[in-house]
């Protein structure tokens, strides 16, 4: 490694050339506070919370962006520096509505944490923000600009990672605020509800619309049979809300918690991910044979679907007609499950636990009613909302016993939770269906990893299948533009709206920048999924007995007319702006 020698607080350390003071200090065991900086998202050095003293520099420098150089002498904790940081924090707080006790981000707020760390015992300035400034036109998000500190992390992730750039700083000076063009509502601009802005926000300015009250009401209604379905990635992230390290698999305790919350049935959505593989794999095989609307593009990610409908409507014919695993869960619960149990589907409430804020939008989409007049899924809540429910119910999560789902799904469905996973799961099954034999290895490693775009050709039964997986909508945009220009050609594409896939979804536990700047959440959470997959016995969707039974008893075969009625949907172009 190419290094430079610097001293930090008098201690000599080797730091990677090109790294920032922030990184070098962290490697030397020193934490420098940050606020506007978020690794790989926002590095603009504007909030001045991370200032340090560099010998010879004219002013204090921002450690988050200042690169180290040979012989550099850095002081991170002098009385002068601490005073400068504290004054900055006081000024930031002077127009922050301090609503801490009733704020959704109480105890997970970076600003609150700094106030505590800096020993801010009284306010020198009176805050001029007394009223909330709420925008809640979308189904997934609440923005309260009275808590915004103008760090621009949301703006950066919206533009650079998601390429939609529907929010930005408007006006100037003291009037500066984050909003849409012409201060329009989010519902009037091409917001696709991925929620990446929420997990990037250091304060309570951006939060998901909390739907837990609806769940409590359903649970408390004796006339309702409440079935909860939990998405693949939740088990490798939920633990973080209870202090477990990033990448801890808490499946057993999660199931125990859901049982204790009083749901009438706890369903593993890995099963309907398996079901998606069967339907989507069949659809792909047919379309590949017929050279029909290729590349076929996956449809599990509702923010991707919204992006496609608004920004790239010309690709709508390429979308798989399969409903997402969430919607398939709802569809089979209100049809098959209701029939098996002898319950009127009107009396069933389906609740999904999702890594995703766009799922709150997806449940209201057209043509998502396996039973006409009834939504497939009634309530969709995020990982964070589930954690809130567990806490509120007084369940001590970390002391729970391990409990199992009623029926085990394949881990092909499980790997849906990370970028490349839907593709790999589909390939595991498509390969066997097409060739009649097992692939050399069940692991299709080339589609794994956190790269924005991954592409590879597979030989399946003597024919080349060109596949690609993109995550993050900026990568999706790049890929679609290359296809449009003729630069690239593919047969099968997996798209996930969030960078790294669902493990890094907008509904996942919020980790503060002090964690995200040094741990790659996407990698650590995905590793937990692949680890479970590598140890599992059943790793292919078509081997799942539950799925076999579904087809034997209800759907006859994948892609059948009956399957299409319950498990498939339609899309239509949407106006980009509603002006």
């Amino acid at each position: 490694m190419d290094t430079v020698r610097i001293t930090i607080n008098g201690i000599s350390v080797d730091a990677r050339r090109g790294s920032t003071i922030l990184e070098a200090a962290r490697a030397a065991g020193i934490k420098i506070p940050t606020l506007c900086f978020l690794k790989q998202v926002n590095a603009i050095g504007s909030c001045r919370i991370c200032v340090v003293d560099v010998k010879g520099a004219r002013n204090n420098v921002a450690a988050c962006t200042y690169p180290v150089s040979d012989g550099m002498e850095v002081l991170t904790g002098t009385a002068e520096i601490l005073k400068a940081r504290k004054a900055t924090l006081e000024l930031i707080l002077s127009n922050h509505r301090m609503d801490c006790l009733t704020c959704l981000r109480n105890q997970s707020c970076e600003l609150q944490q700094l106030a505590m760390e800096f020993g801010l015992e009284h306010m020198r300035y009176v805050t001029d923000k007394s009223e909330p400034e709420i925008e809640a036109s979308e189904m997934h998000l609440v923005r309260d600009n009275s808590k915004c500190i103008l760090c621009r992390r949301c703006v950066a992730v919206c533009k650079h990672h998601q390429s939609v750039a529907v929010i930005g700083p408007n006006d100037r000076g003291y009037a500066t605020h984050i909003s849409c063009a012409f201060d329009r509502n989010l519902a009037e601009v091409p917001c696709v509800s991925d929620g990446q802005c929420i997990v990037a926000c250091p304060t309570g300015a951006l939060t998901e619309k909390d739907d837990t009250e609806k769940v409590w009401q359903a649970l408390g209604d004796p006339s309702k049979h409440v079935v909860v379905g939990v998405a693949p990635s939740i088990r490798v992230t939920l633990g973080e809300c209870f202090g477990n390290p990033v990448g801890t698999n808490v499946e057993g305790r999660m199931v125990a918690a859901l049982n204790r919350l009083g749901f009438d049935n706890v369903f593993d959505i890995n099963h309907t991910a398996d079901l998606t593989v069967m339907e989507e794999g069949t659809e792909f095989t047919r379309r590949f044979e017929a050279k029909d609307r290729l590349p076929m593009i996956t449809s599990c990610s509702p923010a991707w679907i919204r992006f496609c409908e608004k920004m790239y409507p010309e690709f709508i014919p390429n979308l798989s007609s399969c409903k997402s695993p969430q919607q398939m869960f709802g569809a089979i619960t209100k049809t098959m499950y209701a029939k098996d149990k002898g319950i009127d589907p009107k009396d069933i409430v389906t609740v999904s636990i999702m890594p995703c804020t766009a799922k709150k939008f997806e449940i209201h989409r057209d043509n998502q009613q396996a039973v006409p007049g009834l939504a497939d899924v009634d309530i969709s809540i995020t990982t964070r909302e589930l954690a809130r429910m567990i806490t509120r119910a007084g369940i001590i999560f970390n002391e729970l016993p391990e409990e199992a789902f009623n029926e085990i799904a394949s881990t092909a469905g499980f790997i849906f939770g990370t970028t490349g996973g839907v593709m790999e799961a589909a390939l595991r099954t498509v390969y066997e269906v097409v060739t009649g034999g097992a692939p050399e290895s069940v692991e299709f490693l080339e589609v794994r990893g956190i790269g924005g775009i991954k592409e590879v050709n597979y030989d399946i039964g003597g024919r080349t299948v060109r596949v690609a997986a993109a995550s993050g909508l900026a990568s999706a945009k790049k890929l679609l533009d290359m296809i449009k220009s003729g630069e690239k050609e593919y047969d099968f594409i997996e798209m996930m709206a969030c960078p790294g896939g669902c493990v890094n979804g907008g509904g996942q536990p919020i980790q503060s920048a002090s964690v995200r700047n040094f741990v790659d959440l996407r990698k650590a959470r995905a590793a937990a999924i692949y680890s479970a997959d590598s140890k599992a016995e059943m790793r292919k969707s078509h081997e799942n007995p539950f799925i076999k039974r579904l087809y034997e008893e209800y759907f006859d075969e994948p892609g059948s007319h009956k399957a299409h009625e319950a498990l498939h949907t339609t899309y239509k172009a949407q106006p980009k702006y509603k002006l």
Binding site: P169, N170, D171, C180
Partner: protein, 166 residues
């Protein structure tokens, strides 16, 4: 929802759009093309309505939000055309301490618009301007070529009513 920032309907002509698209083509490959294009657009239309900002955003493959962020940052850009009568209220130091704030407020009340906006009939717009150099007349406002000085808020209704009748 109708745009809350722009008070008059858009009446751009095909000729204006042709000129705008020409300007976009001329500047698009330059670094920082947004500024000269916005300046030219304002020259063509007299202001920068949403329709015009959207043409620019789409042509430059930027979002409307990015364009609006620039437009709302610089005071040289206007979201509304100027009315037939431009009421310029001086907000210079002398006028300010003599109560220009109340004068402005009174104008806004009477006309039902804020500074920087235009009445829906296109007759009046209000501008809060920097010192016009008539400090001896503070607080002062101008309406077209007419100067009204040493004002008290109670006079405003009467002054504006004269122009309303025109």
């Amino acid at each position: 929802m109708p745009n809350q920032k722009i008070k008059v309907p858009f009446t751009g002509t095909p000729e204006q759009e042709r000129l705008l698209r020409e300007a976009i083509e001329r500047h698009r490959d330059e670094k920082g093309a947004t500024m000269p294009i916005l300046q030219k657009a304002q020259e063509i239309y007299g202001y920068l309505p949403e329709e015009v900002q959207l043409i620019i955003a789409e042509a430059l493959d930027l979002s409307l939000s990015e364009i609006y962020g620039v437009v709302s940052f610089y005071s040289q850009f206007s979201l509304n055309p100027m009315g037939k009568h431009v009421v310029s209220v001086c907000m210079g130091t002398a006028c300010y301490v003599k109560g220009a704030g109340e004068i402005l407020e009174k104008c806004e009340q009477k006309l039902g618009i804020k500074a920087g906006e235009i009445t829906p009939d296109g007759k009046f717009s209000i501008a809060a301007v920097r010192c016009i150099g008539a400090c001896g007349l503070a607080p002062v406002l101008t309406i077209g070529p007419d100067v009204h000085g040493r004002l008290v808020p109670a006079q405003i209704d009467g002054i504006l009513e004269k122009y309303m009748k025109e």
